[in-house]
């Protein structure tokens, strides 16, 4: 088929968290520009399997940009060169014929490499578990619209809630800071009435867990919001800071 491309991939290969990794060069030949980046890797892996080599390990699941499983730092940017998409939504037409593509895992001490390009992001789960929830008693379904919420507030909370927890913010940040993720998870509840009872306890618990996981600090570069596939704004970080300082320095509760 005409219009297909040949690419040179420099892929990070690493056996496990303890072993030393290195870049290995692979040829990706006859790549259709309509393939997604992950489909391209699938084809490369098929070739490796046929040759009896170990395929490249990478995370993926839904392949439609909603699950947050795929990662990959492509040519120096999380989820590749395009704005507001995940790697599975990245098409090979975004690359040029004969281009060299460098593929690395997310780099952060809180995201240890499991194998090759797959990293352990359970630190995000532990931050969520520390306070990213609301405590409610189960029972009958409450009446719709029994708690009025202004449209702008609902929209803002929804925007925060679109975070898929992929970790691109950490990957993009020069300090490997998780503040965009944590602030989105804090905000989605801090904005809504249901989140109020635990609002200040939640932000303290989640920030404490974030620090314990060993993420870096925020220097307000804005790289996270520029690379976030869900275009989550750093306004969330300001809101989290406000709530945290409110909770720890002003409010008279634990």
């Amino acid at each position: 088929m005409s219009g297909n491309m040949n690419l040179t991939l420099k892929v990070w290969r690493q056996k496990n968290a303890e072993s030393q990794g290195k870049f290995v060069t692979y040829k990706a030949e006859q790549v259709s520009p309509d393939m997604s980046f992950l489909e391209m890797l699938d084809v490369v892996n098929e070739g490796l399997i046929k040759k009896g080599e170990d395929p490249i390990h990478f995370d993926h699941d839904c392949r439609e940009g909603i699950c947050g499983a795929c990662s990959l730092h492509i040519n120096g940017r999380p989820h590749g060169p395009k704005h507001g998409i995940t790697t599975c939504q990245l098409h090979m037409r975004s690359f040029n014929d004969n281009e060299i593509v460098v593929i690395e895992p997310w780099r952060a001490s809180a995201f240890p490499v499991i194998r090759d390009l797959a990293v352990d992001r359970t630190s995000f789960d532990r931050i969520q578990a520390a306070g990213g929830f609301i405590s409610v008693n189960t029972g009958g379904v409450p009446d719709a619209n029994s708690i009025p919420i202004p449209k702008v507030v609902a929209d803002e909370a929804f925007n925060s809630a679109t975070c898929i927890g992929c970790g691109a913010c950490v990957a993009a940040c020069k300090n490997a800071s998780a503040m965009l993720f944590v602030s989105a998870k804090v905000s989605q509840m801090a904005l809504l009435p249901q989140g109020q009872p635990e609002r200040y306890r939640r932000v303290q618990a989640m920030v404490a867990q974030m620090d314990a996981e060993g993420f870096g600090s925020c220097t307000n570069t804005g790289a996270c919001e520029a690379e976030c596939p869900k275009e989550i704004s750093i306004t969330n970080i300001a809101r989290m800071n406000r709530d945290y300082f409110n909770a720890t320095l002003i409010k008279n509760e634990e």
């Binding site: 001490s109 809180a110 804005g222």
Partner: protein
């Protein structure tokens, strides 16, 4: 650990310290700049020397000045602590990181810019603050006509340990006011005759501009003040006041002395 200590040792708390000390240092810059504008006055440094005396001997200002020295030290120390933590958060660096495609250069280089500024502050205070406080500087004697304040005769008085730093006497019979003050103006004038010293100041002020274009607005984000209503104002002040006006006005001083004095 007390609640307070816990807050300020968290990642957010450390950033709050950076933001608050940073904003305080920004407000100081405005005061310092307004005061130093007296260097441009064509009075052989009489107003500037009087101002230098006031700034070093008026008690409330002395109190604030100690707060200022502390802020510089705390700002630098916390920057080191935060940077060390950030380095630890990414032990293996990327082979390729296209930071220029997702963030501003200034925001990624605050540490380098801050280091240049810290070196500058040490040199600057060593040359002026230290000399004014500790060196045996000569005095300038200004004889100002009472009829015409612009008629000033200036002469040098050698250093005398018993002399006051600043004194003013009005001699009605001679029709003059005689002001004798420690001559910091002369120190400034001499310092800015060397081209590389002037260049150092101009480079430092460029670093200041880039540091504050990011730093000033960043402080508001850290504190959590990012209301849409006044965010444009904060951005405006960040770029036009602290990014351009203040550094250019400061840099103009050594250049002015090098070229015209």
């Amino acid at each position: 650990m007390s609640n307070f200590a816990k807050t300020f040792s968290s990642s957010l708390g450390k950033k709050l310290v950076m933001a608050l000390t940073g904003i305080f240092l920004c407000t100081f810059l405005i005061v310092h700049l307004v005061g130093n504008l007296q260097l441009f006055k064509d009075d052989a440094g009489q107003a500037f020397n009087a101002y230098a005396y006031f700034m070093t001997h008026f008690t409330p200002i002395k109190v604030v000045s100690y707060l200022l020295y502390a802020s510089i030290i705390v700002h630098a120390l916390y920057a080191l602590m935060i940077t060390a933590g950030n380095k630890k958060a990414r032990p293996v660096a990327y082979a390729m990181q296209a930071g220029n495609q997702n963030s501003a250069w200034t925001s990624r280089n605050m540490g380098i810019l801050g280091t240049i500024l810290l070196i500058f502050i040490v040199v600057h205070m060593g040359d002026f603050w230290w000399k004014y406080h500790n060196a045996e500087l000569p005095y300038a004697k200004y004889e100002i006509s009472l009829d015409n304040p612009n008629d000033i005769q200036v002469s040098e008085v050698p250093y005398d340990a018993n002399r006051l730093v600043h004194s003013e006497v009005v001699d009605i019979q001679a029709g003059k006011k005689i002001v004798i003050s420690k001559d910091l103006y002369k120190v400034v004038q001499n310092a800015f005759q060397t081209w590389w010293y002037v260049a150092l100041y101009v480079i430092a002020m460029a670093a200041l501009a880039f540091h504050l274009i990011h730093g000033f607005k960043s402080a508001f984000q850290t504190i959590g003040w990012n209301n849409n209503r006044y965010l444009p104002l904060v951005r405006f002040i960040s770029v036009w006041i602290f990014g351009l006006l203040v550094p250019i006005a400061f840099a103009a001083m050594p250049v002015y002395f090098f070229l015209f004095k």
